[in-house]
């Protein structure tokens, strides 16, 4: 019984205060890949803990439920309901978000395929996988999925020198190659599956930032930190005002500050973080095993 309580507590701790704490540990951004692993392990551990509360006490409950007080049965039922609810929320959230994302991407691909031009700079094609929208506002993004696209507006090609365009392309291609969309989808599904009161928007924003930092790192390998920094600033300068999310929350400055880090691997920090991830993931598993072996 104590293990069930421990698991429920662990689930709540991993779902609520831990993400908020983790989001504030900005040092972790210096090892973005390890940081994403920590985030993933915290999230998985939270779900495991919530789901495992019942199985942990099954042997104990089994005996008591058959021969003991009704309170054991009530607790077992309560635990099962909690686990079931959690699972249902995750599945529903996954389905809704998954279908919505894919429908939006499909629609967008149809438009982009229809409206885009093959890009050229000084009459030389840049990249056959690149799609260019005939619009003056500089923008750059990728449409992830099986039929992925990198989309730039003509305004981007006009506003940025070729090296910086290449930086932008390298960044977007890194997103597609490393399937950041799947990682972010995982986090978004878990975020939405949590009851609103437990959700941590700063945690979701943090993992989104980490994905950007990872893509920046990939681009820096291709073009170097200076060109990458110029590209970030050039695109920031040309962003339409109504696309701004509000003062004080820009990630551009954070990304610029981290560009310098891109060339210095943080081995010790990464190792520490991988260790932390393993500990976090191990906690619910140990509790479940302990619950089984001591009953």
């Amino acid at each position: 019984m104590v293990f069930a309580a421990a698991l429920v507590t662990l689930a709540l701790v991993l779902a609520w205060p831990v993400p908020r704490l983790l989001a504030r540990m900005t040092t972790f951004r210096r090892a973005p890949r390890a940081a994403l692993v920590v985030w993933q392990s915290v999230t998985i551990a939270a779900v495991l803990s919530a789901l495992a509360a019942t199985p942990a006490v099954l042997p104990e409950i089994g005996r008591e439920a058959l021969e003991g007080p009704g309170s054991a049965r009530a607790l077992a039922t309560g635990g099962a309901i909690l686990s079931g609810l959690m699972l249902a929320r995750v599945l529903v959230s996954g389905h809704q978000i998954g279908t919505r994302l894919r429908a939006t991407r499909r629609r967008h691909r149809e438009l982009v395929d229809l409206l885009s031009n093959a890009p050229e700079v000084r009459n030389e094609p840049i990249d056959p996988q690149l799609y260019v929208l005939e619009h003056a506002t500089p923008t750059a993004y990728c449409v992830p999925g099986l039929r992925s696209r990198v989309v730039l507006s003509q305004g981007t090609i006009d506003a940025l020198p070729p090296a910086e365009v290449e930086a932008v392309l390298a960044h977007e291609r890194a997103h597609l190659r490393e399937r950041h969309d799947l990682i972010l989808e995982f986090f978004t599904v878990m975020y939405t599956a949590l009851p609103p009161i437990l959700r941590s928007p700063e945690a979701l924003r943090e993992v989104q930032l980490l994905a950007e930092v990872l893509a920046d790192r990939s681009a820096v390998k291709a073009v170097g930190p200076v060109v990458m920094a110029r590209a970030v600033v050039a695109m920031a300068e040309s962003t339409a005002p109504d696309a701004a999310m509000g003062a004080g929350r820009s990630t551009a400055r954070i990304r610029l500050d981290l560009l310098h880090e891109a060339t210095r691997p943080r081995i010790l920090l990464s190792l520490l973080m991988f260790g932390l991830a393993a500990l976090v993931l191990g906690a619910p598993i140990c509790l479940v095993v302990a619950g089984w072996t001591t009953s």
Binding site: L114, L115, P225, D242, L256
Partner: protein
């Protein structure tokens, strides 16, 4: 066409839309399948049914409107090329709302506000200065060297 991911049908859709747009800009109204067939279809040696399929697909994608006129359908684009492009751009920008609604597309940059530009420029100047004075200049000069050729 260098693009491997554009299918033949996609090419035809573009060609038909181009024709509808040009026709619309010249002040023309909606077109029937036969009218599109007689221009785009014959030029590209397409079957009548192919043209019909393409227009039907465009209608299903809500890129053209499909109106019944007696026994035939008439088609016209939902918007001009500029309008559709602007709408597409708005859709991508509108993707940048609540944190749990982002994610269909991954943008290069989504939230720099104009007030922070000076701050960013200062940070950039620092990066440029640092790269010139430290051994990090090796990686940045490799970067520029590669693109001076282009």
């Amino acid at each position: 066409m260098p693009r491997s991911s554009v299918t033949r049908l996609g090419e035809l859709e573009r060609a038909v839309m181009e024709h509808l747009w040009i026709h619309g800009e010249a002040g023309g109204g909606s077109l029937t399948v036969r009218e599109v067939y007689e221009t785009v279809g014959t030029r590209r040696e397409l079957a009548y049914t192919t043209v019909m399929t393409v227009l039907d697909r465009l209608a299903k994608k809500r890129l053209v409107t499909q109106e019944r006129d007696g026994r035939a359908y008439r088609y016209s684009p939902v918007g001009t090329r500029e309008e559709l492009t602007a709408q597409t751009m708005r859709e991508t920008l509108g993707d940048l709302e609540a944190p749990d609604r982002k994610g269909a597309m991954l943008h290069f940059l989504d939230d720099a506000s104009p007030q922070e530009i000076d701050d960013l420029k200062a940070a950039l100047a620092e990066i440029e200065r640092r790269s010139m004075t430290t051994s990090g200049s090796k990686s940045s000069s490799v970067g520029t060297r590669r693109f001076r050729r282009a």
